[in-house]
């Protein structure tokens, strides 16, 4: 499988935050999810890919090219959707489209008109008069109308109502039917990714915790529920995150075999959701007493 994006040991420091030697790759023809809480480093990673910020160290290759030296060429093949509005508020949808369209050699006006109709976007309405959902749809319409090979979306569903979110996710699933296209979808709404993502990269405190195919990920982790009397230093060890209450415990483990060996049939085993994996790793990680910062091989 061809790598569309390769981040190799990329670091970027800000005051109070460091993206620390981040490495992962995006395979052609898949929807890749980038999850993590707000401030985990998702937007920084995307900005680095778009060459809006420069890495302190490491390299980024997109379509096999260095993203700094070949930025213009690379961005010709990227469709981008950002969480914040970056359009000119006083322009109408039509005028903003005219501005953006001129930059792309492969602009497809017919496709854009199709998305306008699909999203019910009013061409003559000013950007400032569009709702957040409408703005996001417009942004997606632009991103999809120049036959981009890579679509980068930073929190596209954040703050949107469930109907709009579902529409966007369905559209992404359609887009990826073209196996030459690749999507990177950053979000903290993990349920969105459960629906559409093929692989998931989890970033926390500026570090990649894992980058795995979604199915493999959900196989790898198990959610364990049982009584607190079963917990001791040894049985706590295989948990990535542990939540204890007066009536029992719930823990997430990335070593189901070992957990089964320790607890057998005395506990309940459940398949975790992406949200479980994220929450237990972040919030309950410090309760388990063990290999909290262990990272999975990429």
């Amino acid at each position: 499988m061809e790598d569309v994006v390769v981040l190799d040991q990329v670091s970027k420091s800000y005051k109070g935050f460091k993206l620390d030697r981040v490495s992962f790759s995006l395979k052609k023809g898949f929807i890749h999810g980038l999850i993590g809480r707000n401030g985990a480093g998702k937007t920084t990673t995307i900005k680095l890919m778009m060459d809006l910020i420069r890495p302190d160290e490491g390299s980024i290759r997109i379509f096999g090219l260095d993203n700094r030296r070949h930025g213009k060429e690379i961005r010709q093949r990227i469709g981008f959707v950002y969480a914040d509005n970056h359009f000119y508020d006083d322009l109408t949808v039509e005028n903003m489209k005219r501005v953006v369209a001129r930059f792309y050699t492969d602009w497809d006006e017919e496709a854009f008109r199709r998305y306008l109709t699909l999203f019910d976007l009013p061409a003559n309405k000013k950007i400032k008069h569009l709702s957040k959902g409408m703005r996001m749809k417009f942004s997606i319409a632009l991103a999809l109308s120049h036959h981009a090979d890579l679509i980068i979306m930073d929190e596209p569903t954040s703050g949107l109502d469930p109907v709009v979110r579902r529409e966007i996710l369905e559209l992404l699933s359609e887009v990826i039917q073209d196996e030459n296209k690749t999507v990177l979808f950053s979000t903290h709404i993990t349920s969105d990714l459960e629906q559409v993502a093929d692989t998931v990269t989890f970033i926390h405190d500026g570090k990649i915790r894992f980058s795995l195919p979604k199915d493999e990920l959900l196989e790898r982790y198990t959610l364990v529920k049982g009584g607190t009397d079963l917990l001791d230093p040894d049985t706590r060890e295989p948990f990535v995150g542990l939540r204890e209450t007066p009536v029992g415990f719930e823990g997430l483990s990335d070593d189901p075999k070992r957990v089964y060996a320790l607890f057998g049939e005395r506990v309940i085993y459940e398949k975790p959701t992406l949200e479980d994996i994220m929450v237990y790793t972040i919030k309950f990680g410090e309760n388990r007493g063990g290999n909290q910062s262990a990272e999975h091989p990429l």
Partner: protein, 207 residues
């Protein structure tokens, strides 16, 4: 670069229209003013401030740098747009002054000074803008306004009262062609250095 210029034009055309109306009103003496050409140059300068402020407000740098462009082209387009607007305002004012018969005998000199003023402004403004960003625009606009309204008229009157401390006489003794050539050469050098510096600063900028 044409795409960037088109973007700037579409994004700023309403503001451009308002400033153009100002140039017309002053040139036709609808609003009586001592030197409409100088004011046209000032309007070109204020226009550039306005567009810079507008750009910051709309996260314009994030948009443009996410599109398939080089940062060098973005900087070049900024200079080109400012110069084009300046030339347009000067041209419009000269045309209207000519049509209305308000032609001044030293119009050639006035045009040269106006052009040099606009180029000098670009040479100073853009490197500072690309270096300091939005904060510079805000502070500089306030300072510029105070200078235009308060300081410049006082200094001008003071200089006129003291016969420009002999500087004007000394300058006038030099041949016109030498003065113009010298002014143009220095302006060109400053402009090229400014462009080079702006590209360097913008290439380092993070959004």
């Amino acid at each position: 670069m044409r795409s960037i210029l088109y973007k700037d034009f579409v994004a700023e055309r309403t503001v451009l229209l308002i400033y153009t109306a100002g140039v017309i009103l002053f040139a036709l003496q609808v609003v009586p003013i001592f030197d409409p050409l100088a004011l046209a140059s000032c309007l070109a300068i204020f226009f550039t401030f306005t567009t810079a402020s507008h750009e910051e407000m709309n996260n314009g740098h994030i948009l443009i740098n996410s599109l398939p462009v080089n940062r060098k082209d973005v900087v070049t387009a900024k200079y080109a747009f400012h110069l084009a607007v300046g030339a347009g305002f000067i041209g419009l004012d000269v045309l209207l002054e000519t049509v209305t018969g308000a032609w001044s005998p030293d119009l050639g000199w006035q045009i040269a000074i106006a052009v040099i003023g606009i180029v000098w402004f670009a040479s100073v403004f853009f490197p500072l803008y690309f270096w300091l960003g939005h904060r510079f625009v805000q502070i500089a606009m306030i300072i510029l306004f105070i200078m235009m309204v308060g300081v410049v008229p006082i200094v001008f009157n003071l200089a006129a009262k003291h016969d420009y401390w002999g500087i004007l006489d000394a300058v006038q003794t030099l041949p016109n062609s030498l003065l113009l050539g010298l002014g143009a050469a220095v302006t060109a050098i400053v402009f090229v250095v400014s462009g080079f510096l702006s590209v360097r600063l913008y290439e380092r900028k993070e959004f």
